[in-house]
């Protein structure tokens, strides 16, 4: 037994030496954990083969109300880099997760902590931080900047910088990935702007304060929100007011998260608009952020272009996903 033990020990030592002799680049991948599939896609595009990316959420959840699961703790505990959307988007679970995961490398202040929102100019920053303005108030501003390609360029820069910080050996590859991402964004933005050009200035209704970055990026107009205050369900009188405003402003589209589909449908029917169920980012079943944006832009273009408003169908498709939009991918590319 002792002989076997010594041989085993020598074998393990030899294996360890052999592992050490392997070039770093051949076996080391940076383990990246992201809070959203959007950030996972972004990181994969920048990091390429040098990163292994694990999104914690599927994109179907309300990012503000995620329950920490055992796999979250295990992944973050082992991670080299943690990328969050920031601006309080994940305030209900990320601080506790980082605290309990006990991985100093990815805690705030660690080299592997990446707040993708750094440098982004937040919109809808409340002048008065009071719950009177709504229970879901975001003191640092609206966190849904992933709907704006300009902001995603800045987020990409933050991710690149963090990857370089953690794995400087692959600096060049990360910079190349970043450059490619920027070029892709430029290409897509040109197409998206062209597609939405006929819709400039047109109004739509959202269920929650989520689409302001998208509206700003593509010169669209948010006429009203289905929630009277962020996080508060609307009263009947408030909804009547919304419908009246929507009619007056000739609103063509009501967008809502899946759980507000019924409400969006009701309002859309009342004001002659189209209701669409849209997520606020890509999901793990989508191909990535560009494809999500392709489909989202196509949805808006289809509902808001003057031709569509005049003769287009007025179908309500609760439960339809952006990717399920007919011709969505083709229209966007």
């Amino acid at each position: 037994m002792a002989f076997i033990g010594k041989r085993l020990l020598r074998g393990l030592a030899g294996l360890a030496l052999a592992m050490a002799a392997l070039p770093f680049s051949l076996r080391a991948q940076v383990d990246v954990v992201t809070t959203t599939p959007d950030l996972a896609d972004l990181t994969r595009r920048i990091g390429g083969e040098h990163v292994r990316v694990h999104p914690l959420t599927t994109g179907n959840e309300d990012l503000h109300l995620v329950t920490v699961r055992p796999s979250f703790l295990v992944k973050v505990h082992r991670a080299d880099v943690f990328v969050q959307q920031g601006l309080d988007a994940e305030h209900a679970w990320v601080p506790a997760l980082l605290d309990k995961a006990k991985n100093r490398a990815v805690r705030f202040g660690g080299a592997g902590f990446c707040d993708a929102s750094l440098g982004i100019t937040p919109m809808q920053v409340p002048a008065r931080v009071t719950r009177e303005a709504g229970p879901d108030l975001h003191p640092r501003g609206n966190p849904h900047y992933n709907l704006d390609p300009r902001c995603m360029r800045i987020a990409a820069r933050n991710v690149r910088d963090c990857l370089v910080r953690v794995d400087p050996q692959h600096r060049k590859a990360f910079e190349q990935g970043f450059e490619r991402f920027l070029e892709d964004v430029d290409d897509h933005v040109a197409r998206w702007r062209k597609l939405l050009e006929p819709c400039r200035g047109r109004g739509f209704i959202e269920n929650h304060m989520s689409w302001v970055y998208f509206a700003d990026a593509f010169d669209l107009r948010i006429v009203a929100a289905l929630e009277a205050r962020p996080g508060l369900p609307p009263s009947a009188s408030y909804l009547a007011e919304v419908i009246e405003v929507a009619k007056r402003e000739h609103v063509g589209l009501v967008v809502a998260r899946p759980r507000f589909a019924e409400l969006a449908e009701r309002v859309a029917r009342a004001c002659g608009a189209e209701a669409r169920v849209l997520q606020l980012g890509s999901t793990t079943s989508d191909k990535g952020w560009f494809e999500f944006m392709d489909a989202t832009v196509a949805t808006f273009a289809r509902a808001l272009t003057p031709e569509a408003r005049r003769g287009g169908e007025r179908g309500v498709e609760p439960g339809a996903k952006p990717g399920a939009e007919p011709d969505a991918g083709r229209r966007g590319t």
């Binding site: 770093f24 309300d62 107009r221």
Partner: protein, 494 residues
């Protein structure tokens, strides 16, 4: 990423290349190179990267300017709106604007205060004297207030003081803050109409100092035992803690001492957490509204120990818990756990036939197992949770200090709650237990509750419950209104 071995090896290899390569290779003599490095592909690539970054910064700056221009116009519009007191949806939720009542501030950079912005304010001290003074609020702890207001009706007799009345069951004042990079300090004070003020919890939490995933609590706090006993009453899924917890543990197991925590990953999708604690004694704390155990009760089991000699090891209370959580599906988890507690030898005093005082010591042991299955779809806000916990209690008792008896008792509770919509849940719970001091007597209760979470900070709950007890059966209905002000827990529930 495993870097230790490989990094050292790579470093050594590079050093080797550098040493041995230095004599054989001279720097490239490229005539196109300029003294400042222009023409060198590496330098050019770096410059190009900096240009790109500069472009992005310019883009950010343009966005900031656009934003500030928009703010100026928005602020003036808001002032106008405030004057008009008009909050129609079309005015509040336009492009680049917030919902009614929301406007853009003076500063667009988080944490950076522009002159005259609300962030800068009019603080004295730092702003005036250039030094932080005792009149500054920076570094002060975050404060929270939780109110738990109950109106309850019951057919229970002798309940004039406790039932068929309005009750401010709990006013909890919380202070939490970082002491330093290694620890935080958390204090929760309980106020109620009957007893005034009580230290509910006050502990130092060493959460960033120990190796691996270890954490240490020191102070007075609810001990880690079972699924529901450590929860504050306003955090419960129903009005009161289950009767069996009241009977065997006195509600919450509380004590002054230390508690060590650790967790580890069992697999990619499961974790095991364990804790061990020691305390002067295992006290109880209960603020029960309904049932035979109703009332505010504290059990300080160590009373009488101090005046008689020094504290011995056997006078301490011990407890431990281990719990594993497994992901059983994309939206579901299964948690199983086991807890044990040893209450210290209680010293009680008796008199013998000659009226001579003598003391006797008694022990209590409690063990419990629990299981929780949760399936919650966060996309729709619907799902359900089921929890069951069984407890065994073993106590040494005596009426005269001479004749002793051991009482072993068993009890359990279970509940299920269905989250039928984002704001609404319906639940039912029940339990049965043998009395801890006389196992031949049994009590049970069952009830149903409906909870309306108006929002994250306000909740209403209606509950009806029936109690069957050797003393008296009873039935009650309650309406509970809970509100939260300020910072509040977003922890990991395991």
């Amino acid at each position: 990423m495993t870097t230790s071995w490989s990094s050292w090896f790579t470093l050594l290899a590079l050093l080797g290349v550098g040493v041995f390569g230095a004599s054989s290779s001279l720097p490239a003599q490229d005539g196109a190179l300029r003294p400042d490095g222009r023409g060198d592909p590496n330098v050019e690539a770096t410059l190009e990267r900096y240009r790109r970054d500069l472009d992005l910064l310019r883009e950010e700056l343009r966005a900031v300017r656009r934003e500030q221009e928009s703010q100026n116009s928005q602020n003036s519009q808001n002032s106008q709106n405030n004057r008009n007191q008009n909050t129609s949806p079309s005015q509040g939720a336009g492009q680049g604007q917030g919902a009614p009542g929301i406007a853009l501030p003076g500063s667009t950079f988080p944490g950076v205060a522009l002159p005259g912005s609300p962030l800068q304010g009019n603080r004295r001290g730092l702003a005036v004297g250039g030094q932080t003074t005792i009149f500054d609020n920076i570094f002060n702890p975050a404060i929270s207030l939780i109110g738990d207001f109950v109106v309850a009706g019951s057919d229970q007799k002798d309940s004039f003081e406790r039932l068929n009345r309005f009750t401010l069951r709990d006013l909890e004042l919380g202070f939490v803050g970082r002491v330093d990079p290694y620890s935080s300090y958390q204090v929760y004070l309980h106020f109620d109409e009957d007893i005034g003020v009580e230290i509910e919890e006050a502990y130092v939490f060493l959460d960033n100092a120990l190796p691996d995933t270890f954490e240490l609590k020191a102070g007075r706090f609810n001990r880690d035992f079972g699924k529901l006993s450590a929860l504050h009453d306003h955090d419960l899924p129903m009005l009161d803690k289950p009767q069996v917890l009241q009977e065997y543990l006195g509600g919450s197991v509380r004590g002054t001492g230390v508690e060590l925590h650790h967790w580890l990953g069992l697999s990619d999708t499961s974790t095991l957490r364990w804790s061990l604690g020691i305390a002067n004694s295992l006290d109880s704390d209960s603020h029960t509204i309904f049932g035979p155990a109703a009332g505010h009760d504290h059990g300080h089991e160590e009373e009488g120990v101090e005046p008689f000699g020094k504290r011995r090891f056997e006078n301490f209370g011990f407890h431990g818990r281990a719990t594993a959580v497994f992901e059983t599906g994309p939206t579901s988890t299964l948690q199983v756990g086991g807890s044990v507690a040893y209450a210290p030898k209680v010293v009680r005093f008796f008199e013998d036939a000659l009226m001579t005082p003598f003391k006797a010591t008694f022990e209590t042991r409690i063990a419990g197992v629990d299981a929780t299955y949760r399936d919650y779809d966060e996309a729709s806000g619907t799902g359900f949770v089921t929890v069951a916990e069984a407890l065994w209690s073993s106590r040494e008792l005596s009426d005269d200090g001479i004749v002793r008896r051991d009482v072993d008792a068993f009890g359990f509770y279970a509940y299920a709650e269905a989250f039928v919509a984002r704001q609404w849940s319906l639940g039912a719970s029940g339990g049965r237990f043998e009395h801890a001091e006389d196992a031949s007597e049994r009590s049970s209760d069952y009830g149903a509750f409906a909870t309306w979470r108006i929002d994250e900070f306000q909740r209403l709950r209606l509950e009806a419950r029936r109690f069957e007890d050797p003393g008296q059966d009873s039935f009650g209905v309650s309406l509970q209104w809970t509100v939260i002000l300020g910072t509040h827990g977003h922890g990991i529930y395991w």
